[in-house]
Amino acid sequence: MRDLIDLWVGVQAWLFETLVSPVLFHFGLMAWYEPGYSAVEFVMLGVVQIAVIAIGMRFFERRWPLEKPGPDDGLIMVDRVYTVLNKLGIIPLAIFILTYPLVQEVELAVRSWGYMPPRLERLLPWIGDNALVSFLVYFVLYDFAAYWLHRGQHAFGWWWALHSLHHSQRRMTVWTDDRNHVLDDLLITLALVLFSQFVGVQPGEYVVILMVGRLIESWSHANVDMSFGWLGERLLVGPRFHRLHHALSTPTERHIQDHNFAPVFPIWDILFGTAIYDEKIRPTGVDDAAVDADNGRGWIVQQATVFGRFLRALMPRFRRRASVP
């Protein structure tokens, strides 16, 4: 294990000291020295995630596909662009630059008042004594927050205007998870970072939670006919469980997408009455021609179109047609 860590940090340090550090030093940006090193790790983790998706998860999609190859296969291409932009840190970097000052200000204001969030270790000291337990507890808490944010994305018209881009894909695959509007990504990131700081998630833990969580979410979008089994499907979100959340609404199942919100742990849907477990295979997408028109568009046009949709939903005077699921 130590050899693996040495290899990982060796590559990270080499990349940083060869490519990033000289630039920061030259331009007098030494205040970004430590964050710059973390950013290199983020990009490396992104490469690993893309490899896991492209090699590992795609193997299962090819071997046991739920939806057979068809005329809509070309719609997947743009989702690959989203994944690369996200996993290699281009979108996250932009979000980081935008949110960092705000997050800093909030944190500094709270701390300068002398207020300390009630960290879990204070309540349950044994949590801090075991790294794995600590990771799992914070992962569950993080997922709890993500569950409610996801419900918010479906509950508010303006937020749905953004989030509907994620749902408009008719050909759901392992690449679909990253298909989000940058403003949607920004809001979610901001909320989750603030939440994580509030409950006391470590920066190191946050990165691991993010990586493991996003891989599980990529898998939950996979076009595979596989199940974790009765118990497994109740412990971890899998493709069958999450596909229902992306199901096309019909007159008999008008609010089908208001179920199975949980990103990683289905327990939240079970506890809050939003879980549906069944074997029925449904087509995915949205029952809204304006939103469905996202399909076939490229990344830039999708971003621009969805932003317009968001503005119209937010400000009634610009509204031609607001759509709520």
Partner: protein, 337 residues
């Protein structure tokens, strides 16, 4: 050292509940833990949780405790110097990034790096005497030998500020260069050395008024000092260059030796026998061991993520301030010999 012997060592440490004079404490700043290493075995024997974002640590004036600044939880965690066990938590110490006791042991000072203030406490009971808000990322500190003044580097604004300890007021605030970090008062009490992390040099500053009196090229990212212990030579880590240099301060400071330490070398400490320098390598999650006589790397110990502060347990005997021991501002200020 094989895994079995490390396990045996860890077991004996845990059973005895002791971090002994043979131990070294390393703060893993990115994973909220501290490692206890065995100096003789050159191995990590146990890793324990500690607050959030621990960066620096310091010996208490009575020599009985090691205080770790847990920056993101606004507290100090005290470890028993003999056993390494947590003894108490000092709360309401805001953002204790860098820590220092004045040489007379009466004042305790913290540089709140992220919250932009310098706090001066009565060391007895950690009662806040004064909080001075100052822009520019207060980073590291040094004291004069008379315990009247504390000097603090301001990393973002490129300045050094001097504060009167008794009145908690600003004496001067002067520009010194790009991203000053480590600072040390030389034993003559007439020269401050300041490491410029945004440049490749250190500057000599007059403690009376902050005027720059000289400059010495050392390596890119000059960052932190540690005294060799002879009152004359100081080690300096150069983070960007990946270099530790030895500086002779007898007359005009000059570089007399150097050793390449990759991975962003940062804080340092010396073994009690004076033979080895231990240097945290922030990026490699390791601590490098340098033979001081030959200035060569002779060992490397894996630790946790982003190791920062390092502290060498020197003795299990009770000691008092002013008894000839080094008085440090968290691994940076000089020996008083």
């Amino acid at each position: 050292m094989n895994r079995l012997s490390i396990a045996a060592l860890a077991f004996s440490l845990v059973v005895s509940g002791a971090a002994r004079a043979d131990s070294v404490i390393i703060l893993n700043s990115d994973e909220a833990s501290y490692s206890i290493l065995s100096r003789s075995a050159r191995a990590e024997v146990v890793r324990l949780p500690v607050g959030r974002e621990p960066h620096h640590l310091i010996l208490s004036p009575d020599g009985k405790e090691v205080l770790i600044g847990s920056t993101a939880t606004n507290e100090l965690l005290a470890l028993d110097i003999k056993t390494g066990e947590r003894t108490r938590v000092v709360k309401d110490i805001l953002d204790p990034y860098h820590l220092g006791f004045s040489p007379d042991g009466k004042w305790f000072v913290t540089a709140a790096y992220r919250l932009d203030h310098v706090d001066i406490y009565h060391a007895d009971g950690f009662r806040l005497a004064g909080r001075i808000f100052i822009d520019g990322l207060p980073s590291h500190m040094a004291f004069d030998t008379e315990s009247k003044t504390v000097y603090v580097t301001l990393q973002q604004s490129g300045r050094v500020a001097a504060f009167d300890l008794a009145t908690q007021t600003l004496k001067w605030n002067m520009p010194v260069g790009n991203a000053p970090a480590g600072i040390v008062m030389l034993p003559d009490d007439k020269r401050l050395l300041v490491a410029l992390t945004g440049e490749d040099r250190i500057v000599t500053v007059d403690p009376k008024d902050g005027a720059i009196k000289g400059s010495l090229q050392t390596g890119k990212g000059a960052h932190n000092f540690f005294p060799k212990g002879d009152g004359r030579h100081y080690f300096l880590s150069n983070r960007v260059e990946g270099l530790v240099t030895l500086i002779d301060t007898k007359d005009e400071p000059k570089v007399v030796a150097s050793v390449r330490i990759p991975g962003g070398p940062d804080c340092m400490d010396i073994t009690p026998d004076g033979r080895e320098l231990w240097v945290t390598q922030r990026f490699l999650r390791r601590v490098a061991i340098v033979d001081i006589e030959t200035m060569k790397v002779v060992g490397s110990v894996p630790v946790g993520k982003s190791p920062h502060g390092v502290f060498m347990m020197k003795s299990t005997a009770t000691v008092t301030a002013g008894a000839g021991l080094p008085v440090r501002a968290a691994s940076t200020a000089g020996d008083r010999k």
